[in-house]
Symmetry: C2
Subunit: 735 residues, 2 copies
C-alpha cells in the first residue's frame, strides 16, 4: 500500500521531470533555430552589393552615428545594470545572487538583441538602396524584409533561449545543496522575473531614449530644413539629416523591437508564474508553468516558416505578399497549438485562448489602421476628414486629430476587455477553479498574442530600413526610379507599421493584465507575518483608491516629461542647425559640408539626459507607494496605471499616426484640391506639417514608451513584492 | 424598567425630531435669505443707468440671442424632463411618484437658477458698460460684481431651499398613510437623489450645450474675423460678434454656475445619504443626515457677508478687494462651523474636515493658477515658457501646452487624494467605525469645499459680465477710457477665474468620490435576494476590472464627441460668416449691417444637436454596464470614470487656460520681444491664436463638461441602483 503510493508519487515526479525536460528542450531548441536562421539571413544579406561610393559614404555616416548613440546608451545601461545587480544581490538575501544573475543576463540579452537589430538595419539601408537602384522594387523589398527579419527572429529566439536556459540552470544545474538556495515552483519563476526586469528596463531606455533621439532630430530637421529653409526632407545639406536617419534606426527599429520583445518576455513570465501556481496546487500531469514557453516556441517556428514564404516575384506589390506571410504564420501557429494541446492531452481551452489572444492583437492592430490610414472604413474616415480640417486652420487639424485619437481608444480597449473577459470565463473550464484557471488563461492569451512576434517584427522593421534607404538614395543623388521604387515600398510598409503599433499596445496591455494577475497571485505565497492569503483590491477602500489615482498619474507625468524632453532637446539642436546655416552659407549652396556629428552628439546626450528622471521616478514611486500604502494599494496603483496608460498610449499613437498620414496625403498626387506648389497648397501643407510635428513625439516617443513603462512598473511591483511587503509591515508596526 | 426604556426611546425620538426641525429650518431660512438678498441686489442693479442708445441696442441683441438659446434649450429640457419623470414614476414602483416629483423640482430649480443667471448677466453688461463710460473703474466693477453675485447667491440659496423643503415635504407633510409611500432614513435621501439628478442633467445641458455654443461662436468669429479678415475681436462688422457675446453668457455665466451648483447639490446629497446611514445604525443625538445642510447654510451666510464686503473705493484695483471678500467668507465660514459644532456638542473632527475640504479646494485652484497664469512660480513658469515656444512654431506651442497640461494634473489630483485620505482617517475618530465615519467625513469635506460657493460664483461670474461689457463698449464705439477700465477689470478677473476653474474640478472630484461612497453604502440596504451586504469592489476580479476600463472610456468618448461637435458646428457657422462677407461687401466697410440672427440660430440648434448623443450614451452605458456586469463592476465603472475624467478635465482645462494666457501675453504691452505690428510679431501672434483656438473647446467645452458628466453618471448609478441590481439578478438567473 505505502509502496504503491510511493511509486505513484515517484511516477508523477518522474513524469513531471520528463515533461519539464521536454518542454524546456522545445523552448531552447526553437529559440536556437530562430537565432541560427537569423544569423544565416544576416550573413546572406551582408554578401549583397553595397551600392556606389556615395551610398556607402552616407550609409556609413548613419551607421557610425547609430553606434555612437548605442555606445553612450550602453555605457549608462551598464552602470545602471551593475548598480541594480549589486543592490539585488544584497536586498533579496538568500535569493539575491540568482536574481542578480537573472537580471544581468536579461539586460545583456536585450542589449545584444538591440545591437544586432541596429547593426543589420544600418548595414542594410545601403544594400536596399543599391538593390533599388539596380533591380527596382522586388530586390529592394527582399533585402529590406530579410534584414528586418534578422531582428524579428533574433529577438523571438533570444527570449526563448534566455528563459529556458535560465530555468534549466536554476532547476537542474544548480542543486539545492549548492552555495545558493533556489526555490522551486512559482518562486523559481519569481527569480527569473529578474530576467524580464532586465529586458524591460533596457527596453524602456531603448524606446524612450531612442524616441527622444529620433524626434529631436526629426523635429529639428523639419523645422529648420523644411519650414525655414524650404529644402526637402533628407536633404544632405541639412546638418541634422544624418541624425534624423540615425534616429529612424535607434527609435523605430531598435525601439519598437525592444517594446515587443519585452512584452513577450513579460507575458511568458506572467503565464509561467500563474501556471507554476497551478502545478503546485493541483499537481496536474503537465507543467503548466512551462507550457507558455512551448506556445511561444510554436509561434516562433511558425514565424520562421512565414519569413521564408515572403518572396515577391519581379515587380509584384509587396503589400499582399507581406500579408500572406502574416496569415500563413498565424494559421500555422494556430494549427501547431491545437495539435500540441491534443498531443499533450490537454483541454482545448488552452489552444482556444491562445488563438483568441492572437485574434485580439490583430483586430486591435486593424482598428488602429482605421483611425490612421488614408482609407478609414465606410462612412467613418478620420484621416480624410482631417485633410479637410487642415484646409480650415491648424487649430481645426489639431482638434480633430486629438478627438479622433480619443475615439480610437474605444475599439482597441473594448477589444482588450473582451479578450480578457472571454479568456477568463473559458479558464473556469480548465477545472482549477475560476480564479486560478481564469487568470492563467488571460496570461495564455497574452502569450498567444505575442507568440508570432518574430513575423510581426520582421514586417515592421522593414519599414524603417526602407525609409533609411530612401534617405541614402536621396543623399547619394541616385536615379529617380530608385526613389519611386522605395516610395512604393514605404507605402506598403505603412499599413504593416500601423497594425504593428496597435498590436504592440494590445500586446503590452494584455501582458500587463497578466502581470497584474501574477502580482496578485504572488501575494498568496508571501511568507510574511501580518499578510496572509490573496489580497483583495477593494477600490472602495480609500488607500486602494488613493493608490489607483497615484498610479493613474504615472503615465501622465511620464508622457509630459518625455515630450518636454524632446522639446528641450530639439531646442538645443535647432540652435545648432541655425548656427551652421548662419555661419556657413556654403552649406545651402552645397559647397560646404555640414557638421553632422555635432547634431548627433546633441541628440544622443540629450536623449539620455531627458529619459533618466521619468524612469527613476516611475520605479521609485512604485516601490514607495507599496511601502507606505500597502500591497492592496500597490495593486490599485498598477490598475490605475494601466487604465490611464492605455488611454494615453492609444490617444497619442493614433493621433500621431493620423497627423502623419494627413500630411502624407496632402503631399501625395491623390490630393487634388489644390495643385502642388500653389499658395493654397503651401498653406494647407504647412498646416499639415504642424500636425505631423505635434504627432511625432506623440507617436514615436511618449505613446509607445508608455507600453514599456507599464511593463516596467508591473515587474518592479512583482520583483520587489517581498521587500515592499516586509517594509510595509515594519512601517505599520512603527505607528 | 420597560417604561424607562420606552421613555428613553421616546426622548431620543423627540430630540431627534426637534433637531430635524431645527436643522431643516436653518437650511431653509439661510437659503431664503440668500435668495431674497440676491433679488434685492438684482432690483438694485436694474435701477442703474443702461448707457447710451447704441449700448442698449447692442446689449439688447445679446440679451435676445441668449433668450433664444435658452428657449430652444429649455424646450428640449422640458421634453426630456417630462419623459424621464414619467419613466421614473413607472419604474420605481412605490417610490415612483416621489422620485418623479423630486426630479421635476430639481430640473425646474436648476433651470430657474440658470435663467436668472443669464437674465442678470445680459442685463448687467450694458449697465457695466455705462458705468465704465461715465464713472470708470470702480463703478463698473461694482455693477459687474453685484450682478455676478445675484447668480452666486441665488444658486447657493436654491440648493438649500430645494433640498430642505423636499425633505420637509417627504418627512413631515406627507405621512406614511397618505397615497404614496415615503421611506425614512437613508432611503428618503435616495428619493431626493431625484432632485440632484435633475440638477445635474440640466447642468450637463447647460455646461456642454453652452460650451458647444460659446466655442462654436468664438472659434468661427476668430477664424473668419481675426485671421481671415484681420478685424479686431468683438468688432460689430463680424456677423458672429453677437453670437460670440451670447456664448459668453450661456457658456461662462450659466454653464460655470450650473457646474458648481450641481456639484454642491450632489455633495450635500452624498453626505446626507451617508449621514442618514449613521443615524440609522448608531442612533446618535444629532441627525447627521441633515448636518450637511447646516454646514452648507453656514457657508451661504458667510458668502452673503463676503459679497457685501466687496466695496472698492474710487479707482482702487479690484483684485485685492475681491480676494479680501473671499478670505473673509472663508474665515467666517470656518468660525461659524467650529462654533456650530461646539454648540451641538459634536466632535470637532466634523469642523476640521469641512475646513480641510475648503483648503483643498482653494489650493487646487491656486495650482491651476500656477499652470495658467502669466507668472508661474519661482523657477517654474509654464506660460512664459509657452510664449517662447510660440516663437519657434505652432507645433512647439501645442506640444508644450499639452505637456504642461498633463503636468498640471499632478498637484491637483494629489491634493484631492490627500484631502480624501486625511478626512477618511480623521473620520475613524467619530466613533462610528472606520468605514462609516471615514466616508462620512470625506463627504463632509466635499460639502465644506462647496459651502462658500455663493461667494466663489459671485467672483467668477463677474468676469464674463465684464467681458461682455467690453464687447458692448467696443461695438457702441464708446470712449477709449471705458475700454481701458474694463480691460483692467478683466485682468483682475482672470486670476479669480483660473482659481474658480480649479476649484470647480476639485469640488466635483471630491463630490464624486463622496457619491461613489454613497453608492457603495447604498448597496448595503438593497432588499434584493442574491445581493447581501456592502459590495466589495475587487479590481482583481475581471468583471470589476472590465467595468473600470469601460468607465474610464466614458469621459474619453464624451470629450471627443463634444470637441468634434464644436468643429462640426463651427464648420456650419464659418460657412455662414464667409457667405455674409462674400455676398455683402458692405459689411466690411461698415455700410451694411451683418445678419447676426442666422449665426445665433446656427450656434443654438447645433449645440443642442451635438450634445444629445454624448449625454444619452453616458447614461445608457452606465445602466447597461451595471445590468450586465453587476454592481461590483458598476462601482468599478464609476471609479474608472473618475480616474480618467479627472485627468482629462484637468489636462484640457489647464492646457486651454495656458494657451489663452499665452495669447494674452503676446497681445499685451509687456511682450517686448517683437514690436506690435511687425512681421515677427504677427507670426508669433498667429501661432498664439492657433494655440488659443485649440484651447477654447478644451477649456470651455470638453474639460468643464467632464465634471458634470461624472456627477451625472454617479447619480445615475445611485438613483437606478435598485433597478439595476434587480435586473442583474434576473439576468444571472437566465443563464
Amino acid at each position: 500500500m505505502y509502496s504503491n503510493l510511493y511509486n505513484m508519487v515517484l511516477k508523477t515526479r518522474v513524469e513531471a521531470t520528463m515533461s519539464t525536460v521536454l518542454f524546456l528542450s522545445v523552448g531552447l531548441l526553437s529559440g536556437l533555430i530562430s537565432i541560427f536562421i537569423a544569423l544565416y539571413i544576416y550573413w546572406d544579406v551582408m554578401r549583397l552589393d553595397q551600392g556606389n561610393d556615395r551610398m556607402k559614404e552616407v550609409s556609413a555616416l548613419v551607421e557610425e552615428g547609430a553606434y555612437s548613440f548605442i555606445k553612450v546608451q550602453y555605457r549608462i545601461l551598464a552602470i545602471f545594470t551593475i548598480i541594480l545587480a549589486i543592490l539585488f544581490a544584497i536586498i533579496f538575501r538568500e535569493f539575491g545572487i540568482p536574481i542578480a544573475i537573472s537580471y544581468i543576463l536579461g539586460s545583456l540579452a536585450s542589449m545584444t538583441a538591440g545591437y544586432i537589430g541596429i547593426a543589420v538595419a544600418t548595414k542594410a539601408n545601403r544594400r536596399t538602396a543599391a538593390a533599388a537602384a539596380t533591380g527596382g522594387l522586388s530586390p529592394a523589398f527582399k533585402v529590406a524584409f530579410r534584414a528586418g527579419s534578422v531582428m524579428g527572429l533574433m529577438m523571438a529566439g533570444i527570449a526563448l533561449v534566455g528563459l529556458s536556459s535560465l530555468y534549466w540552470l536554476w532547476n537542474f544545474a544548480i542543486p539545492d545543496e549548492f552555495f545558493i538556495v533556489v526555490p522551486r515552483g512559482p518562486e523559481l519563476w519569481e527569480i527569473i522575473t529578474g530576467f524580464s526586469f532586465g529586458a524591460s528596463t533596457v527596453a524602456l531606455f531603448a524606446k524612450a531614449g531612442g524616441g527622444i533621439y529620433t524626434k529631436t532630430a526629426d523635429l529639428s530637421a523639419d523645422l529648420v530644413g523644411k519650414i525655414e529653409q524650404h529644402i526637402p526632407e533628407d536633404d544632405p545639406r541639412n546638418p541634422a539629416a544624418i541624425a534624423d536617419a540615425v534616429g529612424d534606426n535607434v527609435g523605430d527599429v531598435a525601439g519598437t523591437g525592444a517594446d515587443i520583445y519585452d512584452s513577450n518576455v513579460a507575458a511568458i513570465l506572467a503565464a509561467a508564474i500563474l501556471g507554476a501556481g497551478i502545478d503546485l496546487h493541483f499537481s496536474p500531469p503537465v507543467p503548466f508553468g512551462l507550457l507558455p514557453l512551448v506556445i511561444s516556441a510554436l509561434g516562433t517556428i511558425a514565424s520562421v516558416f512565414g519569413v521564408f514564404l515572403v518572396r515577391p516575384k519581379q515587380d509584384q506589390d509587396p503589400g499582399p505578399i507581406l500579408n500572406r506571410g502574416t496569415y500563413i504564420t498565424t494559421v500555422l501557429f494556430a494549427a501547431f497549438t491545437v495539435l500540441t494541446v491534443m498531443l499533450l492531452n490537454l483541454s482545448l481551452v488552452i489552444a482556444v485562448v491562445a488563438i483568441i489572444g492572437l485574434i485580439a492583437g490583430v483586430s486591435i492592430g486593424f482598428t488602429s489602421d482605421v483611425f490612421t490610414s488614408d482609407r478609414g472604413v465606410a462612412g467613418f474616415k478620420p484621416v480624410p476628414k482631417m485633410v479637410e480640417a487642415a484646409d480650415k486652420s491648424a487649430a481645426n487639424l489639431i482638434l480633430s486629430g486629438y478627438s479622433y485619437g480619443l475615439l480610437s481608444v474605444l475599439p482597441s480597449v473594448i477589444g482588450i476587455v473582451i479578450a480578457m473577459v472571454v479568456s477568463y470565463t473559458l479558464g473556469a473550464l480548465l477545472g482549477f477553479g475560476e480564479w486560478e484557471g481564469g487568470i492563467y488563461c488571460v496570461a495564455i492569451a497574452a502569450v498567444g498574442l505575442l507568440a508570432t512576434n518574430g513575423m510581426v517584427m520582421s514586417s515592421d522593421a522593414y519599414g524603417p530600413i526602407v525609409d533609411n534607404a530612401r534617405g541614402v538614395i536621396e543623399q547619394a543623388q541616385a536615379p529617380k526610379e530608385a526613389i519611386v521604387a522605395v516610395d512604393k515600398l514605404d507605402a506598403s510598409g505603412n499599413t504593416a507599421k500601423a497594425i504593428t503599433k496597435g498590436f504592440a499596445i494590445g500586446a503590452s496591455a494584455i501582458s500587463v493584465l497578466a502581470l497584474f494577475a501574477a502580482f496578485i497571485e504572488s501575494t498568496d505565497t508571501l511568507n510574511i507575518p501580518g499578510i496572509d492569503g490573496l489580497i483583495v483590491v477593494n477600490i472602495a477602500d480609500p488607500s486602494v483608491l488613493a493608490g489607483a489615482i497615484i498610479g493613474a498619474l504615472v503615465p501622465v507625468a511620464f508622457s509630459a516629461i518625455l515630450i518636454l524632453g524632446v522639446e528641450r532637446n530639439s531646442e538645443r539642436m535647432i540652435t545648432e542647425i541655425r548656427r551652421q546655416f548662419d555661419e556657413h552659407p556654403g552649406i545651402l549652396d552645397g559647397t560646404t559640408k555640414p557638421d553632422y556629428d555635432r547634431c548627433i552628439a546633441i541628440a544622443t546626450s540629450g536623449a539620455i539626459r531627458e529619459l533618466m528622471p521619468g524612469t527613476l521616478i516611475a520605479i521609485t514611486v512604485t516601490i514607495v507607494t507599496g511601502i507606505i500604502l500597502g500591497l492592496e494599494a500597490l495593486a490599485g496603483y498598477l490598475g490605475g496605471a494601466v487604465l490611464s496608460g492605455l488611454i494615453l498610449a492609444l490617444l497619442m499613437d493614433n493621433a500621431g499616426g493620423a497627423w502623419d498620414n494627413t500630411k502624407k496625403i496632402i503631399e501625395s498626387p491623390e490630393y487634388t484640391k489644390y495643385e502642388e506648389g500653389t499658395e493654397d497648397w503651401h498653406r494647407v501643407h504647412d498646416i499639415s506639417v504642424t500636425g505631423d510635428m505635434v504627432g511625432d513625439p506623440f507617436k514615436d516617443t511618449a505613446g509607445p514608451s508608455i507600453n514599456t513603462l507599464l511593463v516596467v512598473i508591473s515587474l518592479t511591483a512583482t520583483l520587489f513584492l517581498p521587500i515592499i511587503a516586509q517594509l510595509h509591515v515594519w512601517l505599520l508596526a512603527l505607528f
